[in-house]
Each structure stands twice: as structure tokens, then as C-alpha cells.
């Protein structure tokens, strides 16, 4: 006896039915062989039958009709059914497959190795604690006037609020898309998003002082504005949704697009202001408590000679 598999597609989990007793009726009424409780599906919507020269399909729905391999049918016409086939009844998608269709590989949980830090409770808790500590320190280091402990803590609250809001958003999307509550990874990605600017600022600053030049700081500032969010989203989507790298990259770019466009507008605005300002002094002003740098300390005479050469030559042009 030849068997068919009917796949009823559902966003979170597809349903599979083995078809062996023909004819098979599909619809919303309880006297059907396969019941699909979608309100757009007719009571008796479709019949799949086996005839001498192969399988046939007949549309019974005059309401929303059926789409058989892309062709819309509203009458009770019987059509030959090739295997595999795509059937759309009303808004629901079905596939008729051969019972010998190969099974896809098992997806192994991504929460292992280094990545465990971003999904196991201990890893995520450590990450969140680290983030809060860094934000607290950053705020303290920028404090000029002595303040009470409460004041320092209150300055951290907005960052924690933002972290939670971002985590909730990621969590909701993961529930919708893969039908799972990915709590750990959602909090982890939100933490990383809050942590990244501080880490990049510190690294950029250190390099800028080391090289006595603004470019490392400026590049990391651009990285923070344009790269951090898409990269974080890419890894999140790629590891959690189990989709191809290309699709994950596309989704990540799509989701971060509004922010990227906003940042681009912002940066173009500031370039415009700079271009028209005559008071812009573009020299490196970083100072670090560790005086580690590439440039040696010059004698006054050497410095003055070099400064003279650098600035006076330009004057002759």
C-alpha cells in the first residue's frame, strides 16, 4: 500500500499525517479524516484520492478555495496530484510528501562550550553582574562632585531598565519565532549591548593615548554605532533560530536598520557642523593614568624645532 505524508505547516511546530486510506477528506468539520481548526478553512475543503493512474485532488471549498501548486481553484474540479506538491487551503499551507522523504539532521543544542556563558544561568548572571558593575564604575569615574551611594546607584538604573527592555524584546521575538522562551540568551544579548560601548570606549581611549592619535577612538566609535547591534543580533538569531548564516545576517541587518539609519543621519549632521566650524581643534587630547605611549619625550629644543617645521611649512603654501 503506497503511503503519503501530509505536512500541515504551523509557525512553531508542523503537524504530519500519514495518508494510507483513500479518499482522504480535509476540512474544519469533525467528520473529516484530517481536521484543520483554522477558521478560514471550509467545513469540507479538499479531497485527496488515489486512482489507477495516480493521485488526484479535488477542491470542495467555494468560499476561500484552494491553491494547488500555485494554481487557484474555486470549483469542484479534480486535478492530478504530483508528489511532492504544495497545497494552500485558504490561509493555511500544506505539503504532500512521499513517505520516503529523507529526515533532516538533528539540531544539537547551541548551549555548550564557550557559548554556555550566554545561556546557562550562572554565565548570564555573571555577565549581568559584570555589566552593572562596569556601568556603576563608569558613572563613578565621571563624577566630579562627591555624592551619596544612592545617587550613584540611581545613575545605573536607566542602564538596567534599558537592559531589561531589550531582553524582553529579544525574549518575545524568540517565543514568537521558535516557540521557546530563550531567557538566558535574551538577557545575555541585552547585557552585551549595554556593555559594548563602555568596553569599546576604554579600548579606544587606551589605543588613542598609546598612538597619540584620535583614529583608534574614532574607529571604535563607528564600530559601536554601526557594527555592535547587527553583529549581536546575527549571533543571537543564528544560534537560537537555527537558520542559515545568510538568512540570519539578513534578519539582523533588517532589525538594526532603523538604528543604523538614525546613526548615519546623526554622523552626517556632525560632519556638516565640523566642516563649517573654524574653531575645530583636531588634536589628540587623551591622557591616561598609565603613561604608556609610542612617542618619546622630546627636549624642548627638539620639540620647538619640529613644531616650527610642521606649522611654518604649511604657511608658505
Amino acid at each position: 500500500m503506497e503511503k503519503l505524508i501530509l505536512e500541515v505547516q504551523d509557525r512553531s511546530l508542523n503537524q504530519y499525517h500519514t495518508l494510507s486510506d483513500f479518499p482522504v477528506t480535509i476540512g474544519r468539520a469533525f467528520d473529516n479524516d484530517i481536521i484543520i481548526s483554522d477558521p478560514s478553512v471550509s467545513a469540507h475543503h479538499l479531497v485527496i484520492n488515489k486512482e489507477a493512474d495516480g493521485f488526484v485532488v479535488q477542491n470542495l471549498s467555494t468560499e476561500n478555495g484552494s491553491q494547488i501548486n500555485g494554481k487557484m481553484v474555486y470549483n469542484q474540479q479534480t486535478l492530478p496530484l504530483s508528489i511532492p506538491s504544495q497545497l494552500n487551503i485558504a490561509t493555511r499551507s500544506l505539503r504532500v510528501l512521499n513517505s520516503e522523504v529523507p529526515i533532516e539532521r538533528t539540531i544539537i543544542s547551541a548551549c555548550r562550550g564557550l557559548f554556555a556563558v550566554f545561556c546557562r544561568p550562572w554565565g548570564v548572571s555573571t555577565l549581568v553582574l559584570l555589566t552593572v558593575l562596569v556601568v556603576l564604575l563608569e558613572n563613578y569615574f565621571n563624577t566630579e562632585y562627591a555624592n551619596s551611594m544612592n545617587a550613584y546607584i540611581s545613575k545605573v538604573i536607566p542602564s538596567i531598565w534599558f537592559l531589561l527592555a531589550f531582553a524582553l524584546l529579544a525574549l518575545g521575538i524568540s517565543r514568537l519565532v521558535v516557540n521557546r522562551w530563550e531567557v538566558g540568551p535574551s538577557i545575555a544579548i541585552a547585557s552585551l549591548f549595554v556593555l559594548a560601548p563602555h568596553v569599546l570606549y576604554e579600548i579606544g581611549h587606551w589605543w588613542s593615548y598609546f598612538l597619540t592619535s584620535d583614529w583608534p577612538r574614532d574607529i571604535l566609535l563607528l564600530v559601536n554605532k554601526f557594527v555592535v547591534l547587527p553583529v549581536l543580533l546575527f549571533f543571537f538569531i543564528y544560534r537560537i533560530y537555527n537558520i542559515s548564516k545568510k538568512a540570519a545576517l539578513g534578519l539582523a541587518l533588517l532589525l538594526s536598520a532603523p538604528l543604523l539609519v538614525f546613526q548615519a543621519t546623526d554622523i552626517i549632521d556632525s560632519w556638516t557642523v565640523e566642516a563649517n566650524s573654524v574653531d575645530e581643534l583636531s588634536f589628540n587630547r587623551t591622557v591616561r593614568s598609565w603613561d604608556i605611549r609610542l612617542l618619546p619625550t622630546l627636549s624642548q629644543q627638539d620639540y620647538m624645532q619640529q613644531a616650527h617645521d610642521a606649522l611654518a611649512d604649511e604657511a608658505k603654501k
Binding site: V278, L281, L295, Y303, L311
Partner: protein
């Protein structure tokens, strides 16, 4: 000091700068004042810059006949909008009897804010130039304040300001916008100064008449021909003046006339000339600030009028000492770095006036301590050889102590300014 005396109609803000009530004229002086005014009335004019398109005046000042019957003297700042845009503006005069006519610019002294103009027809009796009388003598200033009509205002001579870089005369009388370029006379009717600026409440300034004499002498030598290539001529006047000022500072050092102060652990030069005044602007120590700051600022407080809103000649330096003994070095350096800001020099300059700043940064050893030092320079596009310079030095390598110095030179002559910067740095001393 508000160095603007013309009454600007299209800019009410500027006009309001020097709006003061006229002072009551003492009765005892009335007879002298009246006869003096009658003597000079025929020699006093209003000088105006006229927009060619509309035929209306955009700035007014006063002027007087001097040297020859067709020559009028006024302030440079009265005619500067004409100098900066000769295609769109012309100069003319308005007499006390209502007559008017065209004027031609012959010569300027930007440093002393003087301009000399010529009329096609005779204008009146030239006023004689005189010496500055002794302190306390009565002086009479003449001009057309706020375009209200020609007026004479008595006041007192308080002598030449020897300590200032300008060497102007301090006139204790009320000068007002529109009187710029008018003469101030002694009791004999001789011009001892030209009205130039006011600082309110009877603090007014006059350019000593001897500077006008210099211009008249050189005009006579070249047969009253107008100056050619005015912007180069002006640039030379400014750079020469700045160069000699800077050289005088170096001479003061060789003559051990520099004053020093201790700012934190650095002993630094402060009063390096009688023209330089220093002020303390430290934050009060009882504030909640986590870092302690001592701040001293020195300036020659000079402003040479170049054009509307643009003044040059300022030489200013400031020293900041920071201490944060109780702070982690990371915390201290965050705050220390945020304190190192540089203020804009001339808000009204645009990219058409000056090039972008070019900077040179490196580390330099000063009195055994490493300092991150930057010298920046931008050039004035129209005035060759004239630059603005900003110098910034930041002490590095100490855990909880910081020292920042800034030097601003507006309208600098590069070579001589660099020498002064070098001398200032060389005079720093670290004290344990």
C-alpha cells in the same frame, strides 16, 4: 572694553552696547565749552558708510578736518565695513550745516584704530594737533552721539595708560556710539586725542593725537596718494605690531622683569609685562568637588578692531593645577581629561576668513616632567602673515596631580610668538 562707537542701525544689539545717558554739563564750564564748540563747528563732520544699493548709511561715526582743508580723520572701525567690502559700500560725510559729499580713503593705522579720508572740495579749517596735557586738565570731546546731532562733552584727562599695550588716553567723560572718530580738544582748541571707545560710567578712551600725526606726515611725503593693496598694508601693520610686542616680552625676560607665581607644584611666569594682568579664578576649596583646582589667567586685554566682531591682538595664557589625592588614578584622569577644554577664539570668524587649525602634538620635557604639548595655528585668508595660535600643554605621568596650560594668541605673528612660547616654557620650574 567696548571698542565700538559707531551707531549701527541695521543691528540694534550692537547699537545698544554703549547706550548711556548724556552727562549734565557743569554751568561754570559753559562759556568755555560754548566758545570752543563755535570755534570747531565748521571742522566737525559725521562720517558714514553708505550701501551703494540702497543709498542708506549702515554705520556712522564722527570725523574732523586735520592737516589740510580737504583731509578728515576718523577711526578705522568707523570705516572698516567699507574696507572689507569696497564693491558694495562707499564713504561720505555730513557737515553740521547739512551739506554732504563723497570721501576717499587715503591711509589707515589699524593698530591705533585711525583712518584718514579725503574730500574733493575744501571742508573747513584744519584743527591743530596738541600734546596730552597734565592729569586732571579739562578736555572737550566732540562728535555726533547716536546720530542725535553734533555735541560737545566736557570731561577730565586722566593720562596715558602706560601699562596697557594700546597706550590710549583715559578720558573721564561720557563717550557714546556715533562719537567714534571725533576729536577731543584741550582748552586751546588743540586735538589731543581721537574718541575711540568706552567702558561705561565715564570710562572712555582716546587715541593719542601723535599717532594721527605719524599718518599725516607719511601722507605728506607721498603727496596724499591713497594706499594700494589695503589688506596687505593692514596685515603688515598688524604683524609688525604683534612682532614688536612679542619682542618686548622677550626683552623684559632678559631684563629680569618677569613676575612668577607658584601654581600647584609648578613655578610659572605670570606678569611678564606691565601690559599683562593676571587674575585668580580657582574654584572655592569648600565645594564638594573631588578634585582641587587652582587657576590663574593672564591677559594683555588688548583688542585691535579688524572688522565687525573680529578683534585681534589678544595674548592670553592660563594655568590650571588639579589635585585628587583621594581618588583612584583612573577616576582622577577621567576628570582631568574632561577639564582640558579649549575655548573658541573669535566667534564671528567663518571658513571664508580663516583656514582650519593645523596642530602639532608631541611630548616634551619641561623642568624634568613630561608634558603632552600641542601647538595649533590657523591663518587669516585675507591678511597674509596673520594667524591665530592656540597652545595646549598637559602634564602626564603623575598619578593624582595634573597641570594644564593654555596660551591663546589672536592675530599672531608666528615666528615671534613661537619664541615667546619657547621662553615661557623654558621658565617653568617644578618644585618639590
Amino acid at each position: 572694553m567696548k571698542a565700538l562707537l559707531q551707531w549701527v542701525f541695521n543691528n540694534p544689539l550692537l547699537g545698544l552696547l554703549t547706550l548711556l545717558l548724556l552727562f549734565k554739563i557743569p554751568i561754570t564750564q559753559a562759556s568755555t565749552t560754548a566758545s570752543l564748540y563755535a570755534d570747531v563747528e565748521q571742522s566737525i563732520y559725521q562720517v558714514r558708510v553708505i550701501n551703494k544699493q540702497t543709498g542708506k548709511k549702515i554705520t556712522i561715526g564722527s570725523g574732523f578736518v586735520v592737516g589740510r582743508d580737504d583731509i578728515i580723520a576718523t577711526n578705522y572701525h568707523v570705516v572698516s565695513s567699507y574696507v572689507n567690502d569696497m564693491a558694495n559700500y562707499t564713504l561720505d560725510y555730513l557737515a553740521t550745516n547739512g551739506a554732504s559729499g563723497q570721501l576717499v580713503l587715503l591711509d589707515v593705522d589699524v593698530v591705533h584704530d585711525l583712518a584718514v579720508l579725503k574730500s574733493a572740495e575744501p571742508l573747513g579749517k584744519p584743527l591743530p594737533l596738541g600734546q596730552v596735557p597734565k592729569k586732571g586738565s579739562a578736555l572737550y570731546s566732540v562728535g555726533n552721539p547716536l546720530d542725535l546731532g553734533f555735541s560737545i562733552i566736557p570731561g577730565t584727562n586722566n593720562g596715558v595708560l602706560e601699562y596697557s599695550a594700546d597706550h590710549n588716553i583715559l578720558f573721564s567723560g561720557s563717550l557714546n556710539a556715533g562719537m567714534s572718530g571725533g576729536p577731543t580738544l584741550d582748552e586751546l582748541g588743540q586735538v589731543v586725542g581721537v574718541n575711540v571707545a568706552t567702558s561705561g560710567n565715564q570710562i572712555s578712551f582716546l587715541v593719542a593725537a601723535q599717532h594721527l600725526g605719524v599718518i599725516l606726515d607719511r601722507l605728506k611725503l607721498r603727496n596724499y596718494k591713497p594706499v594700494e593693496e589695503l589688506s596687505i598694508y593692514i596685515a603688515h601693520q598688524l604683524t609688525d605690531s604683534m612682532k614688536s610686542y612679542m619682542d618686548s616680552l622677550l626683552v623684559n625676560q632678559t631684563q629680569s622683569k618677569w613676575g612668577y607665581s607658584k601654581i600647584g607644584r609648578f613655578k610659572v611666569p605670570t606678569e611678564i609685562s606691565s601690559s599683562v594682568k593676571c587674575w585668580d579664578a580657582s574654584e572655592t576649596t569648600d565645594s564638594d568637588s573631588l578634585i582641587l583646582n587652582y587657576f590663574t589667567q593672564c591677559s594683555n586685554e588688548r583688542s585691535i578692531y579688524l572688522k565687525d566682531g573680529v578683534e585681534v591682538g589678544r595674548f592670553q595664557y592660563q594655568y590650571d593645577w588639579y589635585e585628587g589625592d583621594l581618588l583612584w588614578p583612573t577616576h582622577f584622569y577621567r576628570l582631568y581629561e574632561s577639564k582640558n577644554g579649549v575655548e573658541p577664539l573669535n566667534a564671528k570668524l567663518t571658513t571664508k576668513d580663516v583656514t582650519p587649525f593645523k596642530c602639532f602634538t608631541n611630548f616634551i620635557e619641561v623642568s624634568g616632567k613630561p608634558i603632552k604639548m600641542t601647538i595649533c595655528r590657523r591663518k587669516y585668508r585675507e591678511y597674509e602673515g596673520l594667524s591665530d595660535m592656540i597652545i595646549n600643554g598637559v602634564l602626564v605621568g603623575e598619578k593624582n596631580q595634573g597641570f594644564v596650560f593654555n596660551i591663546d594668541i589672536v592675530g599672531a605673528e608666528f615666528e615671534s610668538s613661537l619664541k615667546v612660547v619657547n621662553a615661557l616654557l623654558g621658565a617653568f620650574e617644578w618644585k618639590n
